[in-house]
């Protein structure tokens, strides 16, 4: 049985002279948490808006549950829940009024389900508070359960955790896991790579193009270059010296340490220690092989894209 729930083929979208999406193809299976990663302006929001039927693409095809989404958009709407990046419920209506309004729009009034959603989101106590008076995190949770009010099978979430404190972020992800357990397929964009780790698969979009798409651990393994982590002082001089080395592809300062992506066979932790010792006054504490992080994979892919394109 085909478990593909979303199939995007050769999708393109142009805004005047700006090409937002170019020849984008991918498929999402039922039950996935599919992460879409990319820098600002990569086209993530445009992609989600097209999937939500808010924008129309200029090129390509879109299938949802095996049906042409563009042709049967209105019939597909009840199957999709969409949470835009900016708060999009009515600030001057209360939590209850907002949820009732949207459930009526979907013709899906189910008080028991609404109570459960409120319970999941821990918003029961704020039923009669106007949405504008909720904290940022609570607004996001309200928007999320608002998108779930009609029990969609596919959730499209555009940066649901941007601008939210760490506690609310975790609560939002707990909510997502809850919905995922109930069989909802989730497409989520995020600028946070730790959130990408929680996805079943991740797509990296850059300038409207797909750079990579795979499970997070497979993506990490795909870097193809070893990584060395160095703890040394003074960190900026050490960083500058390591950047000079021909074997170093990338060197990024991360807190108290430096992460190096190096050319295979060109540089070992011992070589790094040698480089650091050659700097007058520098002290090395540690240099060791490390597992690649998603960030390094993406930085590397984007750099290669920039060189190629």
């Amino acid at each position: 049985m085909d478990r593909t729930i979303v199939r995007v083929e050769h999708l393109g979208k142009q805004f005047g002279p700006v090409r937002a999406l170019a020849d984008l193809s991918f498929a999402v299976d039922e039950g996935e948490i599919f992460g879409i990663i990319g820098p600002d302006g990569a086209g993530k929001t445009t992609l989600l808006r097209i999937l939500a039927g808010v924008l129309r693409p200029d090129a390509g095809s879109l299938q949802l549950f095996g049906r042409d989404l563009l042709r049967e958009l209105e019939r597909a709407r009840p199957l999709i829940g969409y949470m835009p990046q900016n708060f999009s419920l009515y600030g001057d209506l209360t939590v209850r009024e907002n949820l009732l309004f949207f459930s009526t729009m979907y013709g899906a009034s189910d008080p028991a389900w609404m109570d459960r959603l409120l319970h999941f989101a821990r918003l029961e106590r704020f039923l009669d508070r106007r949405a504008a008076q909720l904290s940022g995190g609570m607004q996001k949770k309200l928007a999320l359960i608002g998108a779930m009010i009609h029990r969609p099978r596919l959730l499209l979430l555009d940066e649901p955790t941007t601008g939210v404190d760490p506690v609310s972020r975790r609560e939002l992800w707990d909510l997502l896991s809850e919905f995922h357990l109930q069989g909802v397929t989730i497409l989520v964009t995020t600028p946070y790579l730790d959130e990408a780790e929680r996805c079943t698969r991740v797509a990296l979009i850059h300038r409207g193009r797909m750079l990579a798409i795979d499970a997070p651990d497979r993506l990490r393994a795909s870097l193809g270059h070893p990584v060395i982590e160095v703890i040394a002082r003074p960190i900026l001089q050490v960083h500058a010296a390591l950047m000079e080395h021909p074997g170093v592809l990338e060197a990024v300062v991360l807190g108290d340490r430096i992460r190096l992506v190096v050319r295979e066979g060109s540089l070992s932790p011992e070589d790094v220690e040698g480089v650091v010792r050659a700097i007058p006054g520098a002290i090395i504490q540690e240099a060791r092989w490390a597992a690649p992080r998603l960030e390094e994979v993406f930085a590397h892919l984007m750099r290669r894209e920039a060189v190629d394109g």
């Binding site: 808010v54 924008l55 709407r77 999009s88 009515y90 001057d92 309004f101």
Partner: protein, 373 residues
């Protein structure tokens, strides 16, 4: 379908009730406009300040001054002795009309000779000047006839010559409130429905809520109907408010059939709601919607014959005025309220409004899409 429309109406009413500024716009503006136009924008010319320069000082000159004192067009503010004082008063605007009676006026009258008098009128305000001019002249002519009759010793009932008997229909006292207030109803209905409809939809786009609304299965027509109905209701509440205040406070007579007036107003609202929707498809912010509304509204106020008569406009502008729905509505309002006419003389206007309503609404419906772009 009806549940969704009902929910949109309910939500819209909540927005309105929770926004004091919108409420103020909806109910304060009509009332303020009504009182402004009822009192200030009156074209009735009354109590024009008049100064007298009487070099004659005879019972005859006094009689002439009394003739001017007897009408309420003029208010005699006093006498001056010298011409410079008269000029000063006119310059300062404290007097707008001056009556000059030369020395020898009384003697000329008594001798049965032609007697000259001078009238100076401040023409800087043409409305006042025209009325004052006509009134001053007709008072002088009446007085002249009286002098003639006395000299010829004629029985007033057997006076030769014309005996005109003008009769003013519909508005015998020529009160401008009877003209302005019915017109105001049309202007307010148009302004409110256009502006509020446009803003109600643009606000959803501006605040990002439209994005959430679009992804629901609501149909554009349901959204439009639900959004528009509250403002139609408000328009009719304002309609009743202005009509009631106009009748009770400004004593505007309501002679025609109210049901007919309501029905034709509904027809008129089609086109102004349509314009509001069209604006909402073009404007992306509430400020833009506001500016566009004014841009469309101002010419329609000036060209539809709300303040200035269409007959007096250059031919080109008269043609343009045919494109303004308010023009037809004003004829209907004044016809039904002031003249008390039925539908027969208003068929053309009703037809024009129907055509406009269908065309504008059709255009708006074609442009209105459930999409963000």
């Amino acid at each position: 379908m009806f549940r969704r429309i009902g929910a949109v109406i309910y939500k819209e009413v909540l927005h309105i009730l929770r926004d004091p500024r919108t409420l103020a716009v909806m109910f304060l503006i009509p009332v303020v406009q009504l009182f402004l136009l009822g009192y200030a924008a009156t074209t009735d010319v009354k109590y024009v300040p008049m100064v007298i320069l009487d070099w004659d000082r005879t019972p005859q000159s006094q009689e002439l001054v009394d003739a001017y004192r007897a009408v309420d067009t003029f208010r005699i503010i006093g006498y001056v002795e010298r011409q410079e004082d008269l000029t000063r008063l006119l310059d300062a605007g404290r007097a707008q009309v001056a009556l000059l009676i030369p020395k020898g006026y009384g003697a000329d009258i008594l001798a049965g000779r032609p007697a000259t008098i001078g009238l100076v009128i401040d023409g800087s305000d043409p409305t006042v000047a025209n009325n004052a001019y006509a009134a001053a002249l007709s008072i002088a002519q009446n007085h002249s006839t009286r002098i003639l009759r006395r000299i010829l010793n004629l029985d007033p009932r057997r006076m030769p010559g014309l005996d005109p008997r003008p009769r003013v229909w519909y508005n015998p006292e020529l009160r401008s409130a009877n003209y302005m207030i019915p017109g105001l109803i049309g202007a307010i209905l148009q302004f409110l429905t256009m502006l509020l409809t446009a803003q109600a939809i643009v606000r959803e786009r501006e605040q990002g809520t439209m994005e959430q609304l679009i992804v629901t299965p609501i149909r554009p027509v349901e959204l439009v109907i639900g959004k528009v109905i509250p403002y139609v209701l408000i328009a009719f509440i304002d309609f009743g408010l202005i009509l009631t205040l106009g009748a009770l406070w400004f004593r505007v007579p309501i002679r025609g059939h109210l049901g007919l007036l309501l029905a034709l107003s509904g027809l008129f609202l089609l086109s102004s709601l349509g314009f509001g929707l069209l604006i909402s498809t073009v404007a992306s912010t509430q400020r833009e919607a506001m500016l566009l509304t004014y841009f469309l509204l101002l010419p329609s106020i000036f060209l539809a014959g709300f303040l200035f008569p269409i007959q007096a406009m250059p031919q080109v502008l008269q043609w343009v005025s045919y494109l303004i729905p308010l023009r037809y509505m004003l004829v209907i309002l004044r016809g039904i309220i002031v003249k008390g006419v039925g539908i027969e003389p208003l068929w053309d206007e009703a037809l024009a409004l129907t055509v406009f309503g269908i065309v504008v609404m059709g255009l708006a419906a074609r442009r209105f899409r459930k999409r963000l772009e």
